[in-house]
């Protein structure tokens, strides 16, 4: 049992160390533009991706670095993408908010709120005809639940029993605005009933809880039972984007968040179960080492070649 939890810890540390390095690189200059970190939300991709099959399709958002990493996309190629290198997952064309790496079952980030949901329906639909057992997963935030495209996608998937898992990462804010002020019924999972599909509000800071619900949803989906909505409760420890002054935080809010965040919680649990502190700390060290090496390798790679900027528009 503690083995799996140590593996989860490593997977989460990989994401967090990546994101922290990204923040440094953004503040120091090698990365430019708007960047949305998932620090505090790592348990969701880690738990969910663990039970995905290679042929499954995953659609994330601009806050999707963690999903890409959990899906196995090489972090060096992600760093390279962020720094506009030729070796980036998209050769520099996607950037932070628009990673794609289809060869790793990561069908991409999306920086239009809600737009990935209908696209995931299509991937699931394709599975009906290509002989695969594909399920599709679409990830979005609490705020995205108020976007028309997400509504249409949920109905579409439910009406046609498509194997789609709708993962809502409810971090309580849509950018700078509390979701609680933007809906009347704050339990977003309950919206699933409108479409006749199951919806669960779950602990998104517990990779094991996410793993269980994801596995269950995928099984139902693959058996023809159609879609599920998982509202994963979480919180980001950082701003909406790098540079966010976070004026909207209430006093003590970040302290509370830090006490509940998935890595701190998991470490605490492991310690309580008697795993030696040194072993736990070694996990972080290992992740940070990998990440530093990958960042350095990415930084050494050549920039994307401007002469190629017009390529690949059409077949």
């Amino acid at each position: 049992m503690s083995e799996r939890r140590l593996a989860d810890l490593l997977a989460m540390w990989r994401i967090r160390a990546f994101e922290e390095k990204v923040r440094d690189l953004r503040l120091e200059g090698p990365i430019v533009g708007s960047v949305h970190l998932c620090i505090g939300q790592e348990a969701i991709p880690v738990g969910a991706c663990d039970v995905l099959e290679p042929e499954d399709a995953l659609y994330a958002t601009y806050r999707g670095h963690g999903w890409a990493i959990a899906r196995g996309v090489p972090v060096e190629a992600l760093f390279a993408e962020l720094m506009g290198r030729a070796t980036g997952v998209n050769g520099g064309r996607g950037g932070s908010a628009y990673f794609t790496a289809a060869d790793h079952g990561f069908h991409g980030e999306n920086s239009i709120v809600g737009a990935g949901a209908p696209i995931a329906c299509g991937a699931a639909l394709a599975g009906r005809f290509d002989g695969s057992d594909r399920a599709a997963v679409t990830v979005f935030g609490d705020g995205a639940m108020n976007q028309g495209a997400v509504h249409e996608a949920m109905n579409f998937a439910a009406a046609f029993d498509l194997p789609v898992v709708f993962v809502c990462e409810n971090n309580r804010y849509s950018e700078l605005t509390p979701i609680a002020d933007m809906v009347r019924a704050p339990r977003l999972a309950d919206r699933a009933a409108a479409y006749g599909m199951p919806g669960y509000r779950i602990d998104g800071n517990d990779a094991e809880a996410v793993r269980f619900h994801m596995r269950d949803a995928l099984e139902v989906a693959r058996e023809g039972g159609g879609p599920t909505l998982l509202e994963c409760m979480t919180e980001r420890i950082v701003g909406h984007y790098i540079g966010d002054a976070e004026n909207y935080r209430k006093p003590g809010e970040l302290d509370r968040i830090r006490r509940r965040e998935p890595i701190a919680r998991l470490k605490e649990g492991l310690l309580a179960d008697g795993v030696p502190a040194a072993e736990i700390d070694a996990v972080e060290e290992k992740a940070r080492g990998e990440i530093e090496a990958a960042a350095a390798a990415a930084m050494a790679a050549p920039y994307a070649d401007p002469a190629t900027a017009r390529e690949h528009l059409y077949a």
């Binding site: 064309r93 109905n155 579409f156 390529e311």
Partner: protein, 332 residues
């Protein structure tokens, strides 16, 4: 283009030609899907998808009234190896979900540097028909033609309705096929079906003439030809050049034609300002074609489309108005 069935000539109307192309495509490309509002069991509100559901079962289906879901799922299915052919019943309705076309479909290949593609075909129809309201009358091709990453065509004959759709669906990029509902039930013509189709692009010279070149597309082609026939009687030779493919656009052929006659008029049903006519005029101007008179654009004036036919007629270009403006262009 893969192997095709043997060519055969059939008498088909425009809508029937679309239907024949869909049947062929469903047969020759197992990865095709056809879906949209009322396209399955009912066979489409214009009957264009009739019979497909019966022949191809689950590959043809009706959807909720959810354009974002229709278009978005087509993008997703296309990224996964399907070739969806989806219908947006009226071009006007694409505006509720344009994001999926512009921000999603058009980006797939470019942003992934070619590792992912989105070979979907969006069939829609547009334009005014008598009595149609302002929300069911727009010609929106110019919007799509400003979007790199899409292909766009507008067939005006049964043969092109067939050929262009076949080309569109075989294309590995997102293609918008803009049909015209006033043509669906036009006269049957001989259509070669089943054989190879012409490559994407090119122009069709619909009327010969050497005094002036009229560049046009869509249903306006036939208003322009009527005008050319009128003017032929007056001794004015009008070359009507239809550009059924607007992206890719055959600039070379258009510039060459304008260079031959040294007079240019562009005719479209869309309102003039920001219409694709501006692009055509700009390309000819930029090519430095020495014209005998300034080029003109003929289209709807910049207003909304009123429902009353008597009002709409005052706005839409017809043969008389085209002939009048072209006559002035030639005679001064």
């Amino acid at each position: 283009m893969p192997e095709t069935s043997k060519p055969e000539i059939r008498k088909l109307g425009y809508g029937e030609a679309v239907n024949a192309a869909l049947h062929r495509l469903m047969e020759e490309l197992p990865e095709t899907l056809v879906y949209g509002e009322d396209v399955g069991v009912p066979g489409g509100v214009f009957g264009v998808t009739r019979g497909l559901r019966k022949s191809f079962g689950a590959r043809v289906f009706d959807t909720p009234i959810s354009e974002a879901a229709i278009l978005g799922s087509a993008v997703g299915a296309a990224m996964m190896g399907r070739r969806p052919i989806v219908e947006i019943m009226w071009a006007d309705f694409s505006l509720v979900a344009l994001d999926q076309i512009v921000n999603q479909a058009a980006n797939v290949r470019y942003v992934s540097a070619g590792r992912l593609t989105a070979p979907l075909t969006i069939r829609t129809q547009q334009g005014n028909a008598p009595g149609a309201c302002a929300q069911h009358s727009q010609c929106l091709e110019a919007l799509f033609l400003h979007v790199p990453g899409l292909r766009v065509c507008m067939p005006s004959t049964p043969q092109d309705a067939y050929d262009l759709l076949v080309t569109a669906v075989h294309c590995d990029d997102p293609v918008l096929v803009i049909e015209n509902r006033t043509l669906y039930f036009g006269a049957r013509q001989e259509v070669t079906v089943g054989g190879p189709v012409p490559p994407m692009g090119g122009v069709r010279v619909r009327h010969p003439g050497s005094d002036v070149t009229v560049v046009t597309w869509g249903a306006m082609t036939w208003r322009a030809v009527e005008a050319a026939e009128l003017l032929a009687g007056e001794g004015i030779g009008v070359e009507v050049v239809e550009t059924p493919w607007l992206n890719p656009f055959d600039t070379e052929a258009v510039v060459a034609a304008a260079g031959r006659t040294r007079r240019l008029a562009v005719v479209h049903e869309a309102n003039v300002t920001g219409g694709f006519g501006a692009e055509v005029v700009a390309r000819v101007a930029q090519a430095g074609v020495p014209l005998l008179a300034p080029p003109i654009r003929i289209g709807a004036p910049d207003v909304r489309m009123p429902a009353a036919p008597v009002l709409a007629q005052a706005l839409l270009p017809d043969a008389d108005r085209i002939a009048g403006e072209v006559r002035t262009l030639v005679r001064g």
